[in-house]
Amino acid sequence: MDFIGACPVESGRDHYQELMSMDLQRRAFLRAGAAGLGSIALQSLLAADDSKAGKPSPVPSAKHIIFLHMLGGPSQVDLLDPKPMLANFEGQHMPESILKGKQFAFVPKGAGAQASPYKFAQHGDSGAWFSELTPHLAGCADDMTIIRSMQTDEFNHGAGELFLHSGFGRLGRPTFGSWVSYGLGSLSDSLPTLVVMATGPNTAGNSAWGNGFQSSIHQGVKFRTGEEPVHFLANSVGVNRDRQREVIDGVSALNRLAYERYDGPGIATRIAQYEMAFRMQASGPELMQIGSKPKHVLKVYGAKLGAATGAAACSSMCLLAGRMVE
């Protein structure tokens, strides 16, 4: 613990020195326990080219993912998964053989079954089933893969969302997006690997795009809805890009010194995120302008510039996602 003796000036403040040395002892203890794994994380985070993005096997062909998580939709039984036998139980109690051993929320005992009131038909060469509720989606039948075999034992919103995103109904696991970030890295160094946009809250909260036990660099970065997806991209008055660069370098240099002492993986992420923020200052303003899309495109999407909530916001987000992917 060489730094205790190295504290300069300010002699005569004994109490302060004592407090400080206790704090440094605690941190040194934590550091010794970390076994230096943090430095490996820092090296890989700051590597100029992301070697994780090369040659996993098999080599993936997809380059981008836009994941639409739409809460509160109708049941799959009304949209994509026809269950004609439900008609046999219409109005009757569901049989014990189906209900036995299962838990439900918001469903009273002895509730009756209800068949879907919507007509289903097959579409495209694949013959995929769609209900009459989504004619436009049905028109894209041959461009889609529909997975109807997903199941869960979770019966409540929060746990259900966590299960969907992380495979576990409890907090603490990495999520779909962070696994992609971890396993495949990123093709762009001017946008975060995982960008999140939301028109409202979800019941799993920020954990729906969290990194769990992975390095925090893999967590989703949430952009805002409305006019300015990312605030403060422009430099303040009197700060040009060179000076901004100097300030960020200064922060990173001092953070690195702290990192070497405390071995905190969070510091490594912060250094990397400041770098990303600096790059986004260059690419961001042009990227965020969906207004540059032709008017007829905006109309087809139902997007509205500056919309922060509702369907118009969702459409704007989709457009912005498309632009980022480009």
């Binding site: 730094f3 190295a6 504290c7 300069p8 000036v9 300010e10 400080m20 704090d23 941190r27 303040s236 009197g238 700060v239 060179d242 000076r243 100097e246 300030v247 200064g250 922060v251 240099a253 001092l254 953070n255 010194l257 702290a258 990192y259 905190g264 969070g266 510091i267 912060r270 250094i271 400041y274």
Partner: protein
Amino acid sequence: MEVAEALARLVIDLPTATDRDRLVSAFRRTVTRAPSAVELQELTRLLKEFRASSEKEPQAWTSLARVLLNLDETTTKS
């Protein structure tokens, strides 16, 4: 930004004259401990760099204040 400018003014207005005293004071105000020898070296180097690229003294100290306010240690609970 306004906070950085205020911190810079505060430190410039200190009655003591030396840069070192000003750097230590600014550091202690943001990180609540004295800088180590290595950190003080780094801060001195940064101040020199900012002075070279700034037109006026307050600008250089504002840049330094911005660095201190953005340190992981400043913004994170230990």
